[in-house]
C-alpha cells in the first residue's frame, strides 16, 4: 500500500511541479478521488482487525458517556444539586458512601457525590487531555523528525541529542517537580506530556522513518524539478510520515491519560475532577482496599485501563494498516 501511494504521490508531484499545467483544474478532483479510495481501502483493512474494532467500540462508548453527561444535567434528568460531579450532595442517603441503588447506579463517593456522574464528566476531560497531548506530539515529532532527517549534519545531531536529553529525564519526577513550581492544570499537563513524548522517543522513531523516505526517488525527482527545501519537506516527506505519526499519536493518548491518572492519584495536580482524582479521594478517605465498597475504586480504575487499552489497541490495528509487512496477505 505504501509503495503504491508513493508512486501516486510521485506522479502527482511531477504534475504539480508544472509539467502539465492545463490539467490543474481537475487535479484536486483526482487527488480527492485517490485519497477517498485509499481511505476506503484503509478502513477495510482496519475493519479486518477485530481487536482494533474492539478498541474503537470502547472509545465510542466513553465518547457517548462524555456527550451524555451535559445533556443529562441540562435536561434535569439529573438534578445538578445532587448529581453535580464536584459540588453535588444527596441528602436522601443515610450514609456516604452509599451503595449502588436506582438513584445512584454506581453509588456515591465518600463526599456524597454520584460516582457515575463523576465518571461520565471526567470522560470528556480525559478525551480533551489525550487529544491535545496527541496533537502536540504529532506536530512536534513530525517536524523534528522530518527536519532532522532532511537536513542531517549538525542540526540532526543537536535535535537527536536533545531527544536523548528528554529520554534521560525521569518523566514522572519531572512532572511532579513542575507541578510544584507551577499551578499545573489539565491543559498544561497535556502540552507538557505532548512535548516530552513528541520531542523524545517519538521524534527518534519518526526520524528513522524519514531517513528511509529521504532517499526515495520521488524526493530526488522533486528536487530536480526545482522544489525548495520547505516544499519537499511539507509536500513530500511529511505526508508520508503522517501515518506513522498518527500511530504514535494513539500511544501518546494512552500515556497522557495514564500519567494524568497517576499524578492525580498521588494528588499532585490541580484539576477539578478526573478518574485518577476519584481514586485519590477514595484513598484519602481510607476506602482504597475496601472490596465491599468496590464502586469507589473499580469503576474509575477500570475506566482508566479500558480507555488506555482502547487507544493502544487502535494504535496496534493502525500499525497493521500503515505497515504492509505486518498484513496477512
Amino acid at each position: 500500500m505504501a509503495e503504491k501511494s508513493d508512486i501516486v504521490g510521485g506522479a502527482t508531484a511531477g504534475t504539480a511541479a508544472g509539467v502539465v499545467r492545463h490539467t490543474e483544474l481537475d487535479l484536486w478532483k483526482i487527488r480527492l478521488q485517490l485519497t477517498w479510495r485509499e481511505f476506503k481501502q484503509n478502513v477495510a483493512l482496519f475493519a479486518e482487525n477485530k481487536i482494533g474494532l474492539l478498541g474503537v467500540a470502547i472509545i465510542v462508548l466513553f465518547a457517548l458517556m462524555a456527550v451524555a453527561h451535559p445533556i443529562l444535567i441540562a435536561t434535569r434528568v439529573w438534578d445538578p444539586n445532587i448529581y453535580d460531579p464536584i459540588v453535588g450532595y444527596d441528602f436522601t442517603q443515610v450514609q456516604q458512601p452509599a451503595p449502588p441503588s436506582a438513584a445512584h447506579l454506581l453509588g456515591t463517593d465518600p463526599l456524597g457525590r454520584d460516582v457515575l456522574s463523576q465518571l461520565m464528566y471526567s470522560a470528556a476531560s480525559e478525551f480533551a487531555l489525550g487529544v491535545t497531548a496527541a496533537l502536540v506530539t504529532v506536530i512536534v515529532a513530525t517536524t523534528v523528525g522530518a527536519v532532522a532527517a532532511y537536513y542531517g549534519g549538525i542540526l540532526d545531531s543537536i535535535l537527536m541529542r536533545l531527544a536523548d536529553l528528554i529520554i534521560m529525564t525521569p518523566f514522572v519526577t519531572i512532572l511532579i517537580v513542575l507541578s510544584a513550581m507551577f499551578d499545573v492544570k489539565m491543559i498544561h499537563l497535556a502540552i507538557i506530556i505532548g512535548l516530552l513524548s513528541g520531542f523524545g522517543g517519538d521524534a527518534i522513531i519518526i526520524k528513522s522513518q524519514a531517513l528511509t523516505i529521504k532517499v526515495r526517488t520521488y524526493i530526488e525527482a522533486a528536487r530536480v524539478a526545482g522544489g525548495g527545501d520547505a516544499h519537499i519537506i511539507l509536500r513530500h516527506i511529511v505526508p508520508n510520515l503522517l501515518p506513522l505519526s498518527f500511530l504514535y499519536m494513539m500511544f501518546t493518548v494512552t500515556s497522557a491519560i495514564f500519567s494524568e491518572a497517576v499524578l492525580s492519584f498521588f494528588g499532585l495536580i490541580n484539576i477539578r475532577m478526573s478518574w485518577g482524582l476519584m481514586i485519590h479521594t477514595t484513598s484519602t478517605a481510607g476506602y482504597l482496599m475496601d472490596l465491599k465498597r468496590w464502586w469507589l475504586v473499580f469503576p474509575a480504575s477500570l475506566s482508566i485501563t479500558a480507555l488506555c487499552a482502547a487507544f493502544y489497541l487502535v494504535g496496534r490495528a493502525l500499525d497493521e494498516v500503515v505497515n504492509p509487512r505486518l498484513r496477512k496477505r
Binding site: 541529542r161 511532579i176 492519584f265
Partner: protein, 414 residues
C-alpha cells in the same frame, strides 16, 4: 565507523553535562529551598536557622552553588545529602541502589523472557482465538492503572491468600536476630553477584549445549541447568558456613553435632536471609512482569511477522524442517534484533526504579529516593541519583545503535 563513534561520544559527554545542568537548575527553580524545612522546628531561632542554611551553602546564589557542585563532581565528589544530613550522597546511593537493581533487573529479564516466548508463538499462530485473547489480555495488563493493580495483587496474594509478604523487602522479626556481618545490603550485594555469575554460567552452558547433537542435547541441557542451580545453593551454604565460622557462631551449635549445625545454618545462616529477600521479591516481580510483558510480546510478534516473510523461512520449511525448528532457530533468532535493542535500552533505566511500584510495595529504592529528594529540594541527592541513570541511558543508546549496525550489516553509519 570510528569517526562516527568519536563524534557520538563527544556529543554524549556534552549532552550529559547539559542534562546535569538542566536538572540542577530545574530543581532549584522550585519555590523555597531545603532550608525552609527548619521553620517547622520551633526550637530553632532565626539565627540558628540562618546558620544551618549557610552550612548547607544555601545562602549562596544558585550559579555559585552550581559551580561548586560541578567542580566537586569533576573530582569525583558527589557532596552531602541534605535530607540525610551528615551522610554523603554516594553512601545513600550505595545503600539503595542494590535493592532497586535486584528488583527491576529481575523484573526486566522476566518480562523480556516471557514476552519474547509469547510473542514468538503469537506470530506463528496468527489469526486464531489465541491471538485475540493474548493481545487483548496483554494490552489490558500493559495499560492497567498500575497503583490499583499492584494493590489488588497485594490484596489477593498477600492479604486474602497470605502466601506472600505484604510489603517491604525483609521480614523485620527475622532480621532482628541477624548477627554481625549480615545486613540487608550485605546480602543484596552477594545476591547480585550470584545472579551475574549464575546467569553467565547458565548462558555459557546453553551456548555449549547448542553445539552438541540434538539427541544428547535435550537431556544434557536440563541436567546442566539443575546442576548449576544446585551448585548455587551449595555455594551459598558453604558461604554461610564460612561467615558463621568467622563470626564464631559455632560455640552454640558445634557441641550438639552436625545435624544441629545444619539446622543452625538454615535458620540463622546467610542463606536464610537471602531466601527471605527472594521471598519478598516474588510478588513485586510478578506484578511488574505482568504489567510490562505485553510490550515485549507485541514487539516480538511484529518483528517475527516481518521475518516470516523472508525467503529463508520458506527454504527452511521446504527443506522439511520441523515447525518448531523453523520457528525457534530461523525466525525467532532473526526477529530478536529489535527486542535486544529494547532490552539494552530498558536496562539503562533499571537503576531508575519506579515511583509507583516502590510506593505500592513499600520498597525504598532509587525511585522513591529521587522523588523525595526532588520534592524536598535535596538537590545534591537528586542530581547524584540522576548522574548514574543519565550515564547509563546515554551509553545504552550508543551501544544499541552500534550493536544494531554490528548485527545487521545492512545498517551503516557514515
Amino acid at each position: 565507523m570510528r569517526r562516527y563513534l568519536v563524534a557520538r561520544l563527544a556529543q554524549n559527554v556534552l549532552t550529559y553535562f547539559l542534562f546535569l545542568t538542566m536538572v540542577f537548575f530545574l530543581l532549584d527553580a522550585q519555590p523555597g529551598d531545603f532550608g525552609n524545612s527548619y521553620i517547622n522546628d520551633p526550637r530553632l531561632t532565626a539565627e540558628q536557622r540562618a546558620l544551618l542554611r549557610a552550612r548547607l551553602g544555601l545562602d549562596k546564589p544558585v550559579y555559585e552553588r552550581y559551580l561548586i557542585w560541578m567542580s566537586n563532581f569533576l573530582q569525583g565528589e558527589f557532596g552531602v545529602s541534605f535530607s540525610n544530613f551528615p551522610r554523603p550522597v554516594l553512601d545513600v546511593i550505595a545503600e539503595r541502589a542494590p535493592r532497586t537493581i535486584i528488583l527491576f533487573l529481575t523484573a526486566t529479564i522476566c518480562s523480556f523472557y516471557f514476552g519474547f516466548m509469547a510473542g514468538k508463538v503469537l506470530a506463528w499462530k496468527r489469526g486464531g482465538w489465541l491471538e485475540y485473547i493474548a493481545t487483548v489480555g496483554g494490552v489490558g495488563l500493559y495499560t492497567v492503572f498500575t497503583p490499583w493493580f499492584g494493590l489488588m495483587m497485594i490484596l489477593l496474594f498477600a492479604y486474602t491468600l497470605g502466601v506472600f509478604p505484604i510489603g517491604k523487602f525483609i521480614d523485620p522479626v527475622l532480621w532482628r536476630g541477624a548477627s554481625e556481618p549480615i545486613t540487608a545490603n550485605f546480602i543484596f550485594l552477594r545476591l547480585l553477584i550470584t545472579g551475574f555469575v549464575g546467569g553467565a554460567l547458565l548462558l555459557g552452558w546453553l551456548l555449549y549445549v547448542r553445539r552438541l547433537d540434538p539427541i544428547r542435547r535435550r537431556r544434557l541441557r536440563s541436567v546442566g541447568v539443575i546442576v548449576i542451580l544446585l551448585l548455587i545453593v551449595v555455594a551459598w551454604l558453604v558461604y554461610s558456613y564460612v561467615i558463621a565460622d568467622q563470626a564464631g557462631w559455632w560455640q552454640q551449635a558445634r557441641p550438639a553435632g552436625p545435624l544441629a549445625m545444619l539446622s543452625y545454618l538454615f535458620t540463622r545462616g546467610a542463606i536464610r536471609y537471602a531466601a527471605d529477600i527472594l521471598w519478598h521479591l516474588v510478588l513485586p516481580v510478578t506484578t511488574l512482569t505482568l504489567i510490562s510483558f505485553a510490550g515485549q510480546m507485541l514487539l516480538t510478534r511484529n518483528s517475527m511477522l516481518e521475518t516470516l516473510r523472508e525467503d529463508y523461512i520458506l527454504t527452511a520449511r521446504a527443506k522439511g524442517l520441523p515447525e518448531r525448528v523453523v520457528r525457534d532457530k530461523h525466525a525467532a533468532r532473526n526477529a530478536m534484533l529489535p527486542v535486544l535493542t529494547a532490552f539494552i535500552l530498558s536496562l539503562a533505566f533499571v537503576l531508575d526504579g519506579g515511583v509507583i511500584t516502590e510506593t505500592i510495595f513499600s520498597w525504598p529504592g532509587m525511585g522513591l529516593t529521587l522523588l523525595t529528594a526532588a520534592q524536598t529540594e535535596d538537590i545534591p541527592m537528586a542530581v547524584g541519583a540522576l548522574v548514574f541513570t543519565g550515564a547509563m541511558a546515554l551509553t545504552a543508546h550508543l551501544v544499541a545503535d552500534v550493536l544494531y549496525a554490528y548485527l545487521d550489516p545492512r545498517i551503516r553509519y557514515a
